[in-house]
């Protein structure tokens, strides 16, 4: 069996098995619901009827100037890509190999050119899929005919891919001969000189730019268009613009007949590039190995949420005695510090800058500048504290959502399910509650010296005291809902060590998860809100009007906390029943 046949088999079987696995998963109603949600969402985005073919497309609506500007812009981008591919960066492959490809292909009884043919075929397939995606997303806004637009997009992507691949292979050959640096520099200089020469020649041939005359309405679009036309049709530029012109003509063609000629031109370019790449005989094996290692490193880094492996600093010691579930809390606290350390540092720096700016504003105001930035700082701090309730638990996922992938380890620990849930949730809750507390205190402190009509210092203090109780309770509710969702949909909402959950059903489940979180929070918050309103009204009735906000928030926080107790128990029982073999 040739490698192309084996590669085709590999690609088709992989696709088939992925689809089959996804369909098998859909037998479970929970995943079926997720898939249905995402399908509906995609349908609402993509499957609406396209614009009628007679309607003008965007560049046409803008006129020939936009058409020409598009060609020139694409040519400029293409020129930069070409120069960059030949001169910038290190000499390495532009396409990557997986570990499996290195193991199976490089050690297999196949020639270098066969491996290259396989990689080119896979690259073409990937550009095809990208073109389909782009075609689906942009077909209504740019083109009236989907097929020419899709073919032109595919040809464009494929040409860029092939050129980058060919350039990297040639550079590897130069490197193997020890002549990469001078050849790159020489070619780079030649390319830049050629481009500059063509542009200068075109400027000379096109004559002087139309003058802008004050008093006339807008730019002289007609004259500018004519000048640009002369510039673009000058001998050197005419040749440089051929690929971009063919692409734009094909992509924006109003009919199949209009698209035929530019598509033939693009096809010729594509064929030449394919032939060039396949005829290259560059020693890419070592670079393939390096690319596989680089890919593995990137994958490992992605698993660490895009952050390099952190340096380990001193950590507070954990005593051996005390509630054992706090070991999980301590472990998550260290992970949060090490995962989000850099981001938390950035956040603190931003808050510090904001604080310094505010203090400066306050000094200015005292000096008679009339600018009160303290109030602005207070409002920002209060808003940020409020936003932390929802977005904090969504972004800090160091709890069951990351640890359920080690369910067998959790299950072997000498802890009950409730203890595990408590221990897991406590660290993110402490971090978020601490942040909210700091922000609320900052807000009160900043606004203390500012007079706000109708909202004096005493009510502000009363609200702050109440929110100091309510926001952590609300944050705990969001954390519980998010973690409960991960228990119900473990294979879709748990952060996987090897690869993120993918597929339509995973994306749909995330969408549903967000919606369900909001609905559950609303449902959970209704009794708390009612309790808060009643308690506040009661406080006013007994003459404690000034403390009514504190009493109301405290009552609401109490109800939320009371709701959390059975929820955590339910989660604990769910964790004990969760089957590690199917989760």
């Amino acid at each position: 069996m040739s490698l192309v046949a084996a590669g085709t088999f590999l690609v088709l079987r992989t696709a088939k098995n992925r689809v089959r696995r996804a369909l098998q998963k859909l037998r479970e109603p929970r995943y079926l619901v997720g898939a249905a949600a995402m399908t509906l969402y995609l349908w609402s985005l993509l499957a609406r009827p396209a614009r009628p073919s007679t309607a003008p497309v965007l560049p046409e609506a803008l006129g020939p100037l936009a058409h020409l500007a598009l060609e020139v812009g694409l040519t400029a981008v293409g020129a930069m890509t070409v120069v960059g591919a030949w001169t910038l960066g290190r000499d390495r492959l532009s396409f990557s190999f997986t570990d499996a490809e290195v193991t199976w292909l490089l050690s297999g009884p196949v020639s270098r050119s066969a491996i290259l043919r396989y990689k080119v075929a896979v690259g073409m397939l990937r550009t095809l899929l990208s073109a389909v995606l782009v075609g689906l997303v942009f077909r209504r806004g740019l083109a009236s005919r989907s097929a020419p637009f899709f073919l032109a997009t595919w040809a464009g992507f494929a040409m860029v891919w092939l050129h980058a691949a060919g350039a990297s292979l040639v550079r590897l050959r130069w490197q193997a001969r020890g002549r990469s640096a001078p050849l790159r520099a020489g070619l780079g200089a030649l390319l830049l000189l050629g481009l500059a020469g063509a542009a200068a020649s075109a400027f000379h041939g096109a004559g002087p730019l139309p003058a802008f005359q004050p008093g006339r309405d807008g730019l002289p679009a007609g004259e500018l268009s004519e000048w640009l036309g002369r510039w673009a049709s000058s001998p050197g530029m005419d040749v440089l613009l051929v690929p971009a012109r063919a692409f734009v003509d094909a992509a924006l063609a109003r009919s199949a007949a209009d698209a035929a000629r530019p598509l033939v031109v693009l096809g010729l370019f594509l064929a030449l590039l394919v032939a060039w790449v396949l005829l290259l005989d560059a020693p890419f094996e070592e670079a393939a190995l390096a690319s596989a290692e680089r890919r593995a490193q990137l994958e490992a880094r992605r698993r660490r949420h895009g952050i390099r492996l952190p340096r380990v600093g001193r950590a507070a010691a954990l005593g051996a005695q005390g509630p054992p579930e706090l070991a999980l809390t301590w472990k998550n606290w260290l992970a949060l510090r090490r995962v989000h350390g850099a981001r938390l540092g950035f956040l603190l720096a931003a808050v510090g800058l904001g604080l310094g700016f505010t203090v400066w504003g306050a000094v200015q105001a005292r000096a008679g500048g009339g600018v009160d930035l303290r109030l602005l700082g207070a409002i920002l701090a209060a808003c940020f504290a409020g936003l932390t309730v929802l977005f904090g638990p969504l972004s800090l996922r160091t709890d069951l959502r990351s640890d359920l992938r080690r369910l067998d380890v959790l299950r072997a620990l000498p802890l009950s399910g409730v203890q595990v849930v408590r221990g897991e949730l406590l660290a993110p809750l402490l971090l978020l509650a601490g942040t909210e507390t700091a922000l609320l205190v900052l807000a009160l402190g900043l606004s203390a010296a500012t007079h706000v009509a109708g909202f004096g210092l005493l009510p502000r203090a009363a609200w702050t005291a109440g929110l100091l109780l309510l926001l952590p309770a609300a944050t705990a509710s969001v954390l519980v809902v998010q973690n409960a969702a991960a228990l119900v949909f473990p294979s879709l909402l748990v952060d996987d060590e090897e690869h993120a959950p993918r597929g339509v059903e995973a994306a749909g489940t995330r969408l549903l998860n967000l919606g369900a979180t909001l609905v559950l929070l609303l449902v959970g918050f209704v009794p708390a809100a009612v309790a808060g309103i009643l308690a506040g009204a009661g406080a006013r009735a007994v003459g404690l009007g000034a403390l009514a906000p504190t009493v109301a928030c405290a009552a609401a926080a109490g109800v939320l906390a009371a709701e959390l107790v059975p929820a955590v128990r339910w989660m604990g029982r769910g964790l004990e029943r969760l089957d590690p073999t199917t989760a």
Binding site: A300, R304, L309, P310, V312, A315, A317, L318, G319, A320, Q321, G322, P324, L326, A327, W330, K331, L334, A335, R338, V339, R406, L407, D408, V409, R411, A412, L413, P414, L415, S416, E576, D579, P580, T581
Partner: protein
């Protein structure tokens, strides 16, 4: 003497598939039991049921007299489960893993015991390393150190020598013997039959989820009607007919 581990009619189903059926055995303090069987025989499922990770479909597992299902926390406090793939927390250092384990199992003097374990397992000097900076063998050693820290009465090991270098294998075998001499009961699953023969007092052979032989190597030899031969010969003689029977 009360057995450290007692397994009564253990059964575990995955849907319609019966992975483990009617297992009955016990392990005394200081005894090493080898769990062997062909791929897919149910060894890992058995170990997971013993560790309380998977609830049995039927039957019961008692550790130190505590039923793993009815009293999971006291039962799990007595055991250490060491899976074939080390499952570590990527943001805890080597030393922090030991501290974490000490808190979970309430080990008061863990620093001294931890140092000794790191020395024994050649992890001294790696205290500040994160798992991502360790080789596979070192991760395996860290997993073992965490498992041994609370001096468990029962140690369950799934392929304990995978990823270890020859010196590591030698030290691991010594460490397991020491644990057994100190009174711990050990259940180890392995495909390395010479290791099982060398370390284990008794052997349980599984085939297609069923217990097809149980006892000392001598007793199994007698059950199989064989006069001589290694555990490997016995294993092939016992499991090959079962596998052929399943293919028919």
């Amino acid at each position: 003497m009360t057995p450290t581990l007692e397994v009564r009619s253990l059964r575990r189903d995955y849907g319609d598939f019966r992975a483990v059926d009617d297992l009955r055995f016990s392990v005394q303090p200081g005894e090493v039991l080898g769990l062997v069987g062909p791929n897919g025989a149910g060894k890992t499922t058995t170990l997971r049921c013993l560790a309380g990770i998977l609830p049995p479909t039927a039957g019961s597992v008692l550790i130190g007299g505590h039923d793993v299902r009815a009293e999971p926390v006291p039962a799990k406090r007595l055991l250490a489960y060491l899976p074939d793939e080390p499952r570590l927390f990527e943001y805890l250092t080597v030393w922090e893993h030991l501290g974490f384990t000490a808190r979970l199992y309430q080990v008061a003097d863990w620093e001294r015991a931890g140092r000794e374990l790191l020395d024994t397992l050649e992890l001294a000097g790696k205290e500040s390393a994160l798992p991502g900076e360790l080789s596979r063998g070192m991760k395996q050693k860290l997993s073992i150190a965490c498992g041994f820290l609370h001096r468990p009465a029962l140690v369950l090991l799934d392929e304990p020598l995978t990823g270890l270098d020859p010196l590591g294998i030698r030290r691991m075998k010594d460490a397991l013997r020491q644990r057994a001499d100190a009174g711990a009961a050990l259940v180890l699953s392995s495909h390395l039959l010479p290791l099982v023969e060398e370390l284990c007092h008794r052997v349980l052979i599984l085939s297609r989820g069923r217990q097809v032989a149980y006892g000392t190597v001598e007793e199994i030899r007698a059950q199989a009607g064989a006069r001589g031969g290694s555990l490997e010969d016995l294993f092939v003689a016992i499991t090959a007919p079962a596998a052929e029977g399943s293919q028919r």
